[in-house]
Amino acid sequence: MINTHSARILRICLFALAFVRVARASDAPVITVSKSDTISIAVQPISGPDGSVIAKVLQSDLAACGYFTITSPGSASLIAGGSSSGSELDGKVNDHGGRAAVAGTYNGDARAKAHAFANDIVQTLTGNRGIAGTRIAFSATRTGRKEIYLADCDGSGVQQLTHDNSISVGPSLSPGGGKLAYTGYKAGYADIYLVNLSSGTRDRIIKYPGTNSGAAFSPDGSRIACTLSKDGNPELYVCSLNGSAHRLTHTPGIESSPTWSPNGDEIIYSYDDHGGPQLYRISSSGGSGEHLSTGFGYCTEPDWSPDGNKVAFNVREGGSFSVAIMDLHGGGVRTVAIGERPVWGPDSRHIIFASDGDLYMMDVQTGRKKAIVSGIGHAAEPTWAR
C-alpha cells in the first residue's frame, strides 16, 4: 500500500535486471536466467489465531510468483511478517535496515488475506499484478460428459459449475472473475451462456441460428467477442451482454478464438482459408484483418497478454501441438512447451495450458512448470481471470 524509498530502490533494481536480460537477448539468442533475478525474502511467524495459515499461504504465494527466493531471516534482503486479528491482517515487509517496503491491511478469510498481502508485495515491488488467489475455469470429463469447472489458479478447490449432461466447453472468465461465459449444447445447438458466479444465475445470451462459440470478455467486461455463423459462414462478432451482435469480419474462411488487446481497441484471432490457420489482428470495431507472421503453418487459440506485449497460441509441429509465444514488438516467436490453449495470468509472466488431459502452469521467464489440475478426466480449454 505504501511506496517508500526502499520499495522504489528495489523496483529500480528489478527493472535493471530486466534491462540486462533484454540487452543480452539482443546480442545472442540464448537468454540466461540466473538466481540473481529473484529477491531473497523471509516470512516470519504471523501472530493471531489464523497467523500460521496466513504465513504458510503467503510463503507459498511468494515462492510461486517467480520474483522471490524464500530464505532464512538472516540471509534475506526482505522480511515479511505481521499480525492478524482474525478479521484483519496487518502485513508488513521491511528491508534489512528495518525500513518499511510494503505495509497494508488486508481482509477476508485466512487464505484471502494472505493472497491480498502477497499480491500487494508483488505489485509494490515489481509494478506487476500478482496472481495469488486468482481464478481459473476449464472443461473436464470427470462425469463422462464435458462440464465446466472452477478452481484457484494453483489448481486447489476444484468445483464443478455446470451439470448439464450435455457438452459444455470453451469457458471465458470475466475480468475480476465474477462472470463466466461458455459454449453449451444444452438446447441442441452451440450457444453462449453467461453465468453470474456470485448469484449462480445463468442466461443463454447468444443463441443465433448456426453455431455461437469462442466467447472472450473485453477488458472492461462489458462485451464478448465470439464466432457466429448466423450470416452463413463463421465470422467474428462483438456482442453486448444482452446478445446484440456487431459483425467485424467479412471473409469466405473461418475466424475463431478472438482475444482482446488490454485497452479493448484491437482483437487478435485465428483465420483459416483452405487449411493452415494463421493469426490476424483487427480493430475491435471492424475493418480489415492484418496478418501476423509467425513462421508456423497452423496457429490457433491466441491469448493476448494483459501487458499487451505478447501473444501465446497453439502451433502444430508434426502431429502434436506446442505452446508458442510471440513478442508483438520484436516479432520473435519461441515455443515453450508441448501442450495447447495457453492463457496468460494477470502478471503477464505465467501461463496455464492443457497437455494430455492435465493443466500446467508455467513461468515463461524461467521455464519452470508444474501440473496444477489432473485426475478429473480430460481437462482442457483453460481460462484465467485477469
Binding site: K146, I167, V169, G170, T183, Y185, A187, G188, Y189, A190, K207, Y208, P209, G210, T211, S213, G214, T227, S229, K230, D231, G232, N233, P234, E235, R247, T249, H250, T251, P252, G253, I254, E255, S256, S257, S270, D272, D273, H274, G275, G276, P277, G287, S288, G289, T300, E301, N314, G319, F321, E340, R341, A380, E381
Partner: protein
C-alpha cells in the same frame, strides 16, 4: 485449387453476376475481405424453430448417410454428390426442415474444430441451396471434435469422424 482456376472462377462469377452465385462464394479467395456487405460468404440462416434441434427425439438422423471431408478441409467431395442430390430432391418435394451437423476428427484444437465443423455444415448447405433447397428449411450446428462415430486415434477413425450428418425434422 490453383491460382489460375481461382482467377477463372472469379471471372466466371463476374460474368454470372445476375444469376445466383451461391456455388462460387466459398471459393472467392481474398475478394470478401473488408467488404461492407453483410452477406458476403453466405446466405443468412433462418430463425431456429423452438424445441427443434439435432439432438431432439423428433429428428431422423438416419434417413441420409453422412458426407465426408479431407483433413482440415470443408470442400465437398465429388463422391458425395449423389447423397447431396438425393437430400436436395427430398427437400424440394417435402416440407421437412433439415438440420446439418458438422464434425471434425480429434486432431486440431477445440475451438478451431468448432469453426471447421460449422464450415463443413455450411458448405453442405450451400450445395443444397444451389440445387434447389429452400434456405428457410435448413439449420446448421457444429459439434467440432465432440461426438465422434469412432473414438479410436487412427486414420480410419479420423476419416469416419470428418463428416456432416443430416437430421430430418419429422
Amino acid at each position: 485449387m490453383t491460382p489460375k482456376i481461382l482467377r477463372s472462377t472469379a471471372l466466371l462469377s463476374c460474368v454470372l453476376i445476375l444469376s445466383s452465385c451461391a456455388l462460387f462464394k466459398k471459393k472467392n479467395g481474398a475478394g470478401g475481405y473488408g467488404s461492407d456487405s453483410d452477406t458476403v460468404g453466405g446466405t443468412p440462416l433462418p430463425e431456429r424453430q423452438e424445441g427443434v434441434s439435432f439432438m431432439g427425439d423428433n429428428v431422423d438422423k438416419h434417413k441420409f448417410p453422412p458426407v465426408h471431408f479431407a483433413f482440415d478441409s470443408y470442400a465437398i467431395d465429388s463422391s458425395d454428390e449423389g447423397t447431396l442430390q438425393s437430400v436436395a430432391q427430398f427437400m424440394q418435394s417435402n416440407p421437412n426442415t433439415v438440420i446439418i451437423a458438422g464434425f471434425t476428427d480429434e486432431r486440431g484444437t477445440p475451438e478451431y474444430n468448432r469453426g471447421l465443423g460449422e464450415s463443413r455444415a455450411e458448405a453442405v448447405r450451400d450445395y443444397l441451396l444451389h440445387h434447389g433447397a429452400d434456405a428457410s428449411k435448413i439449420q446448421t450446428v457444429s459439434f467440432g471434435a465432440d461426438m465422434p462415430v469412432d473414438p479410436a486415434s487412427n486414420e480410419d477413425a479420423w476419416a469416419k469422424n470428418r463428416r456432416a450428418e443430416f437430421g430430418v425434422v419429422k
